[in-house]
């Protein structure tokens, strides 16, 4: 029992990080239908914001609070300069955002070099209960991630902006004829999605090596989690993230990472084959 506990906590922490990274993507891809292949690089920018801010002597939590603002503004710019011109053509969107991801990666290489940076863990020590102990920052991260995910879900379902955003996503034409500035709502939604990716990058930075390639490793499981869970809702994302992240983490720890990956992909294919809408379909963009 005691031996299984760290595995469970590792899995839970991986799931929450995955859901946190994917929460921005669930808005941009799941709800708005924009296939943003540069989402991983927004995550990357969040982590590098922490590296830069800490270089100026800012404490970690200030840097982590700065990251969503910086990346949110970057998201606004990306939507305004690139995405709005290609959003109605999915294939062009894929190419354009893929190109953007390369540009961002190379700019980061030019500015910071290809090597990895490390961000000091802001909370040292461990929580100990009896003979069991677990790194304190991971516990705090899990709590913060849960709060952010719940907050993002509330914004989408419980607020006026969320209502407008869902209306624009479901029926752009009707929304405009009701007086909703659909372009503005789309822009802000995209920026919120970017800000969430930036926040995720900042919060995860102390646990991983911050390097120009870090985005890809999270982009693939994030898309997978959304597709398996059902595009378009936080509930679906939590379910999909739980399945994808949980299996990957538990099997990876017990058996082997390769077998874990194979199992996850096979399962994802089965779920998508049997339930094309994902585990929790509904909401989001109509076909």
């Amino acid at each position: 029992m005691i031996e299984a506990f760290p595995i469970f906590l590792d899995a839970l922490s991986f799931v929450l990080i995955l859901v946190l990274v994917a929460s921005g993507l669930v808005i941009v891809f799941g709800m708005m239908g924009i296939i943003n292949l540069a989402h991983g690089e927004l995550f990357l920018l969040g982590a590098y914001t922490v590296v830069v801010a800490q270089g100026f002597g800012a404490p970690f939590w200030l840097a982590a609070a700065l990251a969503p603002i910086v990346v949110g503004v970057a998201g606004l710019a990306i939507e305004f300069l690139l995405v709005r011109f290609v959003v109605h053509r999915p294939l062009d969107t894929i190419l354009a955002t893929w190109g953007l991801s390369i540009v961002i990666k190379q700019l980061v290489v030019l500015a910071f070099g290809p090597g990895s940076h490390s961000v000091a863990v802001p909370i040292d020590g461990a929580f100990s209960v009896g003979e069991f102990s677990y790194p304190a920052y991971r516990i705090v991260l899990m709590i913060v991630a849960t709060a952010v995910i719940a907050g993002a879900g509330y914004v989408l379902v419980g607020t006026r902006f969320g209502l407008l955003a869902r209306a624009v996503i479901a029926r752009p034409g009707t929304s405009a004829s009701l007086g909703i500035n659909t372009g503005r709502v789309t822009q802000v939604s995209f920026a919120i999605g970017a800000a969430l990716a930036g926040l995720a990058g900042a919060l995860v930075a102390p646990l991983i090596s911050v390097d120009p390639q870090m985005g890809l490793g999270f982009l693939v499981p994030a898309f997978l989690a959304i597709l398996v869970g059902g595009a378009g809702s936080m509930t679906g994302l939590v379910a999909g993230g739980g399945l994808v992240g949980g299996l990957d983490s538990v099997l990876g720890g017990w058996i082997s990472p390769v077998l874990a990956q194979i199992t996850v992909f096979v399962l994802a294919i089965l779920v998508i084959r049997l339930r094309p809408g994902g585990l929790f379909p509904g909401r989001g963009r109509r076909p």
């Binding site: 006026r160 034409g173 009707t174 004829s177 909703i180 909401r283």
Partner: protein, 240 residues
């Protein structure tokens, strides 16, 4: 100048003139029907007024304000409400939420939504306020959309085939609803409809369009007896 004014409005689609020099004027508070065969340009006229399409040439003004070239949401905020031909309600939202959204959408965000649920009563959906719009019948969705137009309190209402797919009873109730709407708050209403029974009951001036042009304007009886209109529009219908 009329409250709603279209002056020599043209709309070409790749060389095809969908709207070909339309002049149309509605006085404030007027109720007017726009009829014509499929493809005659009625819905295009609606799209030009509401800003979904941009006119190739001509002027469209509402109460003296130029509408041409403005974004759809701006035109909506100027007081133009529109019911689409195909019911375009939000299926994932309840009846009450649909009405609230329509009532609040024109405001700058941040201000609170004003509850519009009482409008459900007007459009015969009082006992359905908690239901998702996706489970409503076709006629009920049409009513909900009329309610959403009302919720925004527009100065000009564009209703595109409000009784399409309705039962005779629902159509009669809709005529009564539109007549009441026309009488209150001085709202100006332009309604597209095919159903001759509906037009007769609505008892308002009728403008007939054909091939992108205005063919005639008059009372229902005048239009019904106009040989040119009969040949073009009513003539091919056995019920006319």
């Amino acid at each position: 100048m009329p409250f709603l004014s279209l002056q020599n409005v043209h709309k070409d689609f790749g060389g095809v003139a969908a709207v070909d020099g339309v002049d149309l004027g509605l006085a404030a508070g007027e109720l007017r029907a726009l009829v014509g065969p499929n493809g005659c340009g009625k819905s295009t006229v609606f799209n030009l007024i509401s800003g979904s399409l941009r006119a190739t040439a001509g002027r469209i003004t509402l109460d003296g304000t130029e509408l041409g070239g403005q974004a759809p949401h701006r035109i909506a905020r100027l007081g133009v409400g529109r019911k689409f031909q195909v019911p375009s309600v939000f299926g994932d939202l309840t009846v009450a939420e649909n009405l609230d959204l329509a009532g609040a959408a024109g405001d700058r965000w941040g201000s609170g939504a004003r509850p519009q649920s009482h409008l459900a009563d007007r459009v015969h959906l009082a006992d359905k306020t908690g239901d998702l719009a996706s489970v409503l019948s076709h006629g009920q969705r049409q009513w909900l959309e009329i309610g959403m137009v009302l919720a925004a309190r527009p100065r000009l209402m564009l209703l595109d085939e409000p009784t399409a797919g309705m039962t005779a009873f629902e159509t009669a109730a809709t005529v009564d609803l539109i007549r009441t709407m026309a009488g209150e708050n001085g709202a100006t209403i332009l309604v597209i409809e095919h159903d001759t029974g509906f037009l007769e009951r609505l008892d308002c001036p009728v403008t007939v369009m054909a091939k992108g042009k205005i063919l005639a304007t008059g009372t229902y009886q005048e239009i019904h007896n106009d040989p040119q209109v009969r040949a073009l529009y009513f003539g091919n219908r056995s019920d006319a």
